[in-house]
Symmetry: C4
Subunit: 255 residues, 4 copies
């Protein structure tokens, strides 16, 4: 089994036969993501934390082995080590290794860098690629409407600050905090922690919501449309590829 073949197995791009190794690694990543979540819960029995630590240690060894194997197999080793995937592979095991001792458990935030592991899921999937392709195909429209949405949000923040600051100085305390209100309102999330109470503020909100929802919804609508379009374009491309392959195959058969 030569180096190239090992890489094909790790990347889930085996031309013939199933991608067992890649599927196993992806499953480990997904389970590991759940394990990292559970670790932050309080009130679990002691043995559960112990089991999670042992599990984490096993995963670390697997990812370390994968990392070293990839370095060994890479055509240009330095290039791989400093590539995006190389760094993600390193971060996937390093923080765990360094801070594995219990006394280091306090450096929680740093250890959570391990979740960058989930990005490895994109290596054998085409999802991120499609997402990037979709964003790229609409980048100019997206930029323009993000710009328009930002101005709309800024003007809303200043407006609501003018109306509500005196009535609720604690809540609408500054323009940046009013911006948080604008975000929660225009995305229609509406957490309810900042609510206009003055007559002027409510009339202003009514007016600006009707105009603004149409504007702020556009970036999300563009991304959604682009994702669906890219998807059908890729599917169409694949179909025509297969058709042309079949044709050429048919063309060859009579010979």
């Amino acid at each position: 089994m030569n180096r190239e073949r090992i890489l094909q197995h790790l990347d889930g791009k085996v031309p013939d036969g199933p991608n067992k190794v890649s599927w196993a690694l992806n499953t480990i990543i997904a389970v590991s993501a759940v394990a990292i979540s559970l670790e932050t819960m309080q009130g679990l029995p002691h043995w559960a934390y112990e089991a999670l630590r042992v599990f984490e240690f096993a995963i670390l060894l697997i990812f370390l082995a994968e990392y070293l194997l990839r370095i060994y197999c890479a055509e240009k080793r330095l290039r791989y080590i400093f590539s995006a995937w190389g760094l993600i592979d390193l971060v996937s095991c390093l923080p765990g290794l360094v801070f594995f001792q219990p006394q280091w458990q306090v450096v929680r935030t740093f250890r959570l860098l391990r979740i960058l592991r989930v990005l490895k899921l994109f290596r054998s999937s085409r999802a991120l690629e499609r997402f990037g392709e979709a964003l790229h195909s609409v980048r100019s429209e997206l930029l323009m409407f993000v710009f328009l949405a930002m101005i709309m949000l800024y003007v809303s923040s200043v407006g609501i600050f003018i109306f509500e600051h005196e009535a609720q100085p604690e809540i609408f305390s500054s323009i940046p905090s009013s911006f948080w209100w604008a975000i929660a309102s225009f995305t229609t999330v509406g957490y309810g922690d900042m609510i206009p109470i003055t007559f002027g503020g409510r009339v202003f909100t009514t007016f600006i919501l009707f105009v603004g929802l149409g504007v702020v919804a556009v970036p999300a609508a563009i991304v959604t449309t682009a994702l669906i379009d890219t998807d059908s374009r890729i599917k169409h491309r694949k179909d025509s590829d297969e058709t042309s392959q079949q044709k050429s195959t048919k063309g060859e058969t009579p010979k």
Copy 2:
């Protein structure tokens, strides 16, 4: 009246004449669903609970009769009994019969299994079939975007946990509980039980909401589009079927 004909009446698939029996059964199911709801309300007068019990008993007898009739009429009896519809028919009357005695009223959750009755509504309707057909036609896109949405939600949960855990250790207590925040925010429901208060958490939320709404909205958009598409496709198919039938009928008339 032979067995097959009885089944046609029960299933609402009588080729000639109205489906009176099936309509009556569906009405009973709908009324029964309302009755089960009312039963859980407190503060109703005593006679109301009595009336609901009597009504429930009557329904149980009807469904039991239907179940036995279906077993009697089925071509292959064992096959029906262990089919999905057979089990649903059994569950529709069994829990009620077993726990009908007042002293058993405490086993509420188990008795609520009776609501699986509403699934019987789908037997004579084509709604569930269309829904399944719609989901099937977009299964690969759906899977991919559910995968993308899940990663987005997971990364958001970890991110908000890092920013907010120290400021609100009671509320953002762990990554799984932060996941609940992510669900409520990205679906734009925004219950308001978990709200970022730190500056970093709010900037992170603003950023991730703008990118994420476009991603998380895609699965819902795909299901919506697929449902509408399937519907118009079915309608179109039916129209062309009728047209071809009319043609063939016309073609036969001159003979």
Copy 3:
């Protein structure tokens, strides 16, 4: 000025010249709607309530005059009186007349029937007609998805009741009150008065929200699409009408 011409003026359908009377009546209706709103506010100065009463009295006289004039002008008087528009015209002035005395101000709810006046705005507008046409063109799809959405909402209510009733017996007190939670969640309004807190309830919500948003959004999407479609169809029809009129006019000119 004959009877038919008076009706044309009242209905805003004068074939030649502006519809001044109809515009004036519509403005009065809009102003009256605002006045009825203001009347319910507390803390206004005494003279404001007096002014509103006088204003209301003037409007009553105008609508009474319109009503009597319409009876006088109608071709078939009894038919008009018992038609939908006739009843709306009557309700627009009757409650005000009967309960105008201050001692009757307590019968507030009944007096609020006057807001049915706003329906008169639709008489000279085509908005309601288009809305009805839109709903009619998609009635079968709408019915089916409302049915699907209702089942989804009912199943969600029962599910969340099973998970949350024990933990929050005061809030998720019965299935009908859980239905209110389902409505607020699936429309993504998310008032925040009923929030799942158990682990099972949150997992159930996550799962059902992802599937359900796609289903519950469909009726609203259908109505929106139908409204936009009907609008463009009407516009197209009008364009082609004008084109054919112009053609026929041109065709006649050479004669």
Copy 4:
């Protein structure tokens, strides 16, 4: 460097070479918008406020210089001074100049007029133009659905007032305050400050939300669609312009 050329630089419409001046001015506007926001925050160290004041003073001088330069360069000076852009340029520096003394800091609201500066960002961008073009192309549909949405909102307000006023006289205190509930509910923001609690109120909300979401969503959907349409139309127009230019260039080459 003649007057026209200076204006081209200020407006970011230099036919040859980069628009450095315009980009610098736009950057200053964006940074200034952030500075105005920060100024309203409390709890910053004293030197930060000092730095913001000095920064603001520098910006004022730049905008004053730009204003005077524009007056000097304008072909018809009075016309520029009283044009929309002229007034915006004046307001961008005047309130800052007049109330720069610390004792005037109290006139906060008036000073916030400076945020109208962000409108200057639209001078060299085509975003506002496109937005206007989009709104203009759908003005009649928009008007009709805003009218329909307004009636729907008004009827909802009166309805919920009738149901909830007695149960919650403090919260649903009048029809105008109920209108605020209608806005928050139909935009699906759902702040949670006003929530129906009576059975009638909840049934009414359920019913009206299902019908109303389809109606109230239409104006926002129209604006979104129009923005995307206008954008692709402009792009298409630009493409065909370039194509025709290339053609004419090609056509001239052989000569």
